[in-house]
């Protein structure tokens, strides 16, 4: 770890971070700031046939790197909730997008920081299977396609199959010689495209963050602070800080010195403290409200937008000619596909607000469900009485996906691939679920239906400039942003209806009283006069 991160870990908060990042005017700066130029290393000046060969070359110098990566979620796709003990992670959960990884590894592992995870037999201890390049490529040419179990393409291939478009074979020598600290594009190569399309999954992360302006992200603004992802998600031993799986929802206290091992540098308060406004009344809001609530007034603030629903029950509906049908919405985003179902997208999305204490509960493969109400695939914990909770902005993604109507579990379906049971190839749910459930080791009754599902994720990226933060009235009004938030008294939103009725009646009756009193005086004085 060198360059920007090293400088940052010794710096004192925002002011220094700003100075450092101002130097890094573009993505290439991450490479320039390193003390090593990887194009000068003889170990990398050779022909590489496969990704693992490159990793072996990396490990000659970076002896501990693979082992470090193997301890991270980027490798294990698994995490344990320290509070509840629930074992989650991409490997185990069922989400609202492509549902589950099991039986679809060949496709899904295009975003695994490794090579060769094609089924449950993957050996997590083999060091050469760690993919260094997906995070450290400086050429922008290193791509991993679905269907290759995490390998890049070593031969020119048509992609998507039958499209007439081709992806060139990767030049591993060039990529290996371009090694740099991860840029926004490196992280974004997976995190911007989660859920199968640009911006689909998160809503606060999409390819517009490769070259963002100030309006979109005040910290990443390419002409301004130009933060990379790792400026906040500062990394040691390849462990990326600030995971959605363990959010520090209610951090208090002063700004922390960067590099303190027990501090989470990814929280806003790490640099800004929890009293950053120089205005007591605004500062006292931090006792109840997350920074993100005011400072991310909308997410997906661009034309890319984000997906708000995925209805799998519409999948396998074929076109009039009996063939696969694909439709886009007016903004060119996927709207329907016979393989996958129906989607709804939106841009400039107003978040849904929830009390959140940092702990989310996930549905993992095999969990029992109650199909009478929307199944919460990811649910934020917390409430107004919990001192660790704050009001957070969230993206709620709603969908429909299949479940076993007898065993009352969400099903695992084999979707990707061109074999005889893959859903996207055969358009047959029974076969796809049968294969998926078998791979997951779950019983399947043979009966399925579709159930409504919801996935609630906190929003934390695309922080707006302060001029664009929510104004007071946007919450302090009768029908404001927080109109459904319970357990807190908000001036202008709340009040006793009875007090208002009695109070205004008192004022009105007084007024009527004095007007009548005055009128009688006037009339009587005229009579007398």
């Amino acid at each position: 770890m060198c360059g920007a991160t090293l400088v940052l870990t010794t710096s004192l908060g925002l002011a220094v971070a700003k100075a450092v990042e101002s130097d890094a005017q573009n993505a290439a700066a991450a490479g320039r700031m390193s003390t090593a130029d990887h194009s000068k290393f003889p170990e990398l000046d050779r022909v590489f046939k496969t990704g693992p060969e490159v990793t072996q070359a990396c490990l000659i110098c970076h002896t501990e790197a693979a082992r470090q990566v193997q301890h991270t979620k980027h490798w294990t796709w698994q995490s344990k909730d320290p509070k509840t003990g629930q074992v989650r992670g991409k490997k185990n959960i069922i989400n609202n997008y492509c549902t589950a990884v099991v039986s679809n590894e060949k496709d899904c592992m295009a975003c695994h920081a490794g090579y060769g995870w094609k089924d449950q037999s993957f050996d997590f201890s083999v060091q050469k299977n760690v993919d260094c390049l997906i995070c450290h490529d400086g050429t922008g040419t290193y791509r991993k396609l679905p269907g290759y179990s995490g390998h890049p393409v070593y031969k020119r291939v048509e992609f998507p199959h039958g499209s007439g478009k081709f992806v060139e074979a990767v030049d591993l020598r060039k990529v290996a010689q371009s090694i740099q600290l991860p840029t926004r594009s490196n992280c974004g190569s997976c995190h911007f495209f989660g859920g199968g399309a640009n911006g689909a999954k998160h809503g606060d992360m999409d390819s517009s963050l490769q070259h963002p302006g100030r309006y979109l992200d005040v910290h990443m603004d390419e002409k301004g602070l130009n933060f990379s992802c790792t400026t906040c998600h500062a990394t040691k031993r390849h462990e990326i800080t600030g995971s959605r799986y363990n959010i520090e929802a209610a951090r208090t206290g002063e700004a922390a010195i960067r590099g303190k091992s027990d501090e989470n540098p990814a929280a806003c308060q790490a640099c800004h403290s929890n009293k950053p406004h120089h205005q007591a009344r605004l500062d006292q809001h931090t006792d109840h409200i997350a920074c993100q609530t005011c400072h991310i007034p909308e997410f997906a603030r661009n034309d890319i937008g984000t997906e708000l629903s995925w209805d799998w029950s519409k999948a396998t509906t074929m076109g009039p000619d009996g063939k696969r049908m694909v439709r886009k919405d007016s903004a060119g985003r996927r709207a329907f596909d016979s393989q996958k179902g129906e989607w709804k997208w939106e841009s400039y999305v107003i978040p849904e607000y929830r009390w959140f204490n940092g702990t989310s509960t996930y549905k993992v493969i095999g969990d029992k469900i109650d199909p009478s109400k929307p199944v919460q695939l990811s649910e934020v914990g917390g409430g107004p009485e919990d001192p660790e909770s704050r009001i957070w902005p969230t993206k709620v993604h709603r969908g429909k996906q299949p479940y076993d109507t007898v065993n009352m579990t969400l099903t695992v379906q084999h979707t990707g691939g061109e074999d005889s049971t893959a859903l996207w190839h055969n358009y047959d749910w029974q076969k796809a679920i049968g294969t998926g459930m078998k791979a997951a080791g779950l019983p399947y009754s043979g009966k399925f239906d579709f159930v409504e599902t919801e996935l609630t994720w906190p929003i934390t990226h695309m922080v707006a400039p302060k001029q664009d933060a929510l104004s007071c009235e946007q919450c302090h009004s009768k029908n404001g942003r927080l109109k459904d938030i319970e357990g807190i008294y908000m001036p202008a939103r709340d009040g006793s209806r009875w007090l208002d009725i009695i109070g205004w009646a008192l004022a009105l009756l007084t007024l009527i009283g004095v007007v009548v009193h005055g009128a009688i005086r006037v009339v009587n004085s005229r009579k007398a006069g």
Binding site: S471, C472, P491, A492, G495, G503, L506, A507, N524
Partner: protein, 200 residues
């Protein structure tokens, strides 16, 4: 009928009255916007101006209390039962018949018995209700540090603050009207401006 003029309101007293009047009207205006009753200045400005007005009123009151005690004028608010019934009868009957005012103010007793009671009510009940609840409202962020966060709820603090505001509003309406019940409709107002009251 001879008209006599007496000097009832001293310079500071008049300054205090009118600046307090403006501040209270302004605080009612901004306060009910903060309460959510209407949109006028915008919530943020309403809150900011309400707060500035509150601190200004605090400052004014410090001077006023000092003045009342050093001059002995506080005695003007001592309640009395004398002539209360007569006053009520005057306002409800006599005033329509052109009956003479049952109370004649003097420099030492400038308020009639009903005024004394009303102002004492404002000073000892409505005022403190607004001050105390307003203080806690303003320092909501410090409740934890003061150790009162378990005892108070913002909902009830706001409730009583708003209740106080409604009472102040009703008082204000009645008070303004009653200024017209002097020797002439404007003589009370003139007195509060010039200091000189015309009495029958």
């Amino acid at each position: 009928m001879t008209v006599e003029r007496i000097y009832v309101f001293k310079k500071f007293e008049r300054f205090w009255h009118w600046s307090q009047a403006l501040l209270i009207i302004f605080m009612l205006l901004t306060g009910f916007e903060v309460h959510g009753s209407y949109h006028l200045f915008g919530f943020a400005d309403a809150v900011a101006m309400h707060t500035v007005a509150a601190w200004t009123l605090v400052g004014l009151w410090v001077f006023a209390i000092f003045w009342h005690f050093t001059t002995g004028e506080w005695k003007q608010y001592l309640p009395t039962t004398e002539k209360v019934v007569a006053m009520i009868r005057f306002y409800s009957v006599g005033i329509f018949q052109g009956a003479p005012h049952p109370y004649r103010p003097t420099v030492l007793k400038k308020h009639n018995p009903l005024q004394r009671l009303a102002y004492l009510g404002v000073l000892l009940f409505i005022g403190p209700l607004l001050w105390i609840t307003g203080w806690f409202y303003l320092f909501f962020g410090d409740w934890k540090a003061w150790g009162v966060d378990g005892l108070l709820s913002l909902e009830w603090v706001a409730f009583f603050h708003t209740a106080g505001a409604f009472m102040m509003l009703a008082f204000l309406i009645a008070h303004i009207y009653l200024t017209t019940t002097g020797h002439t409709p404007l003589s009370h107002i003139k007195a509060m401006i010039t200091g000189w009251e015309e009495v029958d």
